[in-house]
Amino acid sequence: MQKQNGTELKNKAKQLLQNKTVDRVAGFCAGEFAYDPSPCVFYSAEEIEENMIYDCFCSPNFSKFLVKETKKPGRIAVFMKPCDTYSLNQLITEHKIDKDKIYIAGIGCDGMVDVFKLRNKTGSAILKASCDNGALTVKTPDGDMTFAFDEVLAERCLVCKSKKHVYYDELLCEPSFETDTGRFDKVEQIEKMSADARYEFFRSELSKCIRCNACRDACPACTCETCVFGESSSGAESRENANEFEEKLFHIIRAYHVAGRCTDCGECSRVCPQRIPLHLLNRKFILDINRFYGVYQAGETVGQIPPLTDKNESDPEV
């Protein structure tokens, strides 16, 4: 459950605009459904008052959004949950975001709702949702339902790596710490399976892929000017002009390209319409890096050298 409520954020946003700290504010406004608030940019206090919302469905990581936003004139304020700030640091390291053009207000976070999980549980349309006191109440055509928060929390939140903001201009919550929630348990469990079982597991998962590229588009580490998996000029922005090779190896290369730079924000798995647990690939790389080259958290500070572009004479042999 989010620690800051919508009103608090609204007031802060209006204040930042009014005292000219920033020229605009990024936030959420209501989407078509109760569970899909969409990111938008507010230019005036009136817009904020009218449209800005914040609730336990406001999952998206705003850091990648800032890559384009900071190319525009003026300064933008963003409310960020702890995990978003890791991605932000990584993007600053890679010269993708100009620090001078952002104002980050850190907000506390107790996790976000996994809409897929919720929809599976309700089994019918969600007309309205509200979270309060560790519980989520959903209004459906079949009547109201209430779920304990843990039941509907996103996987990445259940194993949250950190409640600490590693970048901010202002904290709206109490400073907090990294957490240890066994986020590598599933990876280690898979590692213990037989090769055949591993192969079957990943084959069945990856077979679901429809190559919509949502994972790539949402990933804050995927910010290449053009992507190896096709270019926008091909006229197939979301449906790659895939040859067979790219089809098969997309996910390995995708994970490899972000290895050492992936902060484990979990956006890839969150946005996958096929529910492929893509984070299991990323976390495998993170776990291996930790094992072979020492514990490394991408985005912890600005200016880190990602392990895959670093080296040491005494590295273990293959």
Binding site: F245, I252, T309, D315, E317, V318
Partner: protein
């Protein structure tokens, strides 16, 4: 070289300064190795992109060798250290996905190790031949060939 009529395809990426020279030395010393090992010359093992390896597997290779200078001997001083990290992580990932780790190998071969090149190529060929045809990597996302048939 064949095993039960099956002849694996093996691609060996060799760095120009050590391993390619080592393979040349294998030749001038007449140390034989299986003819299905085909060498691609690269300036340094660090030129080998994981995409090249996956492309080779995707294209039908059964095994891929990456050969570089011994650690500390890189002509470019640090290239092979980068290779070592890249391959360590890539191989580990492929293993995690259930693909036989033995199909890929990173070997350090100096310009004076002609015999080592020949024996490494032979050993690798035998290992890959025992594993049989490479199906898994090529078919990770699609149904396996046997299922399709």
């Amino acid at each position: 070289m064949q095993l039960n009529g099956y002849k694996p395809k093996i691609v060996a990426f060799c760095c120009n300064w050590c391993s390619y020279a080592g393979a040349d030395l294998a030749g001038s010393s007449r140390f034989t190795y299986p003819d299905n090992v085909k060498i691609i010359r690269v300036p340094c093992s660090c030129r080998v992109d994981p995409v090249f390896i996956l492309r080779a597997f995707g294209g039908g290779a059964d095994g891929v060798m990456i050969c570089g200078c011994h650690p500390g001997d890189c002509h470019y001083t640090s290239g092979n250290y980068h290779t070592r990290r890249r391959m360590k992580l890539l191989f580990s990932m492929l293993d995690y996905l259930g693909i036989e780790k033995e199909r890929m190998k990173l070997i350090w071969i100096s310009a004076s190790e002609g015999e080592k090149f020949a024996s490494a190529a032979t050993d690798f060929m035998n290992t890959v031949a025992r594993l049989g045809e490479n199906r898994r990597l090529g078919d990770l996302r699609c149904k396996s060939k046997t299922e399709q048939n």
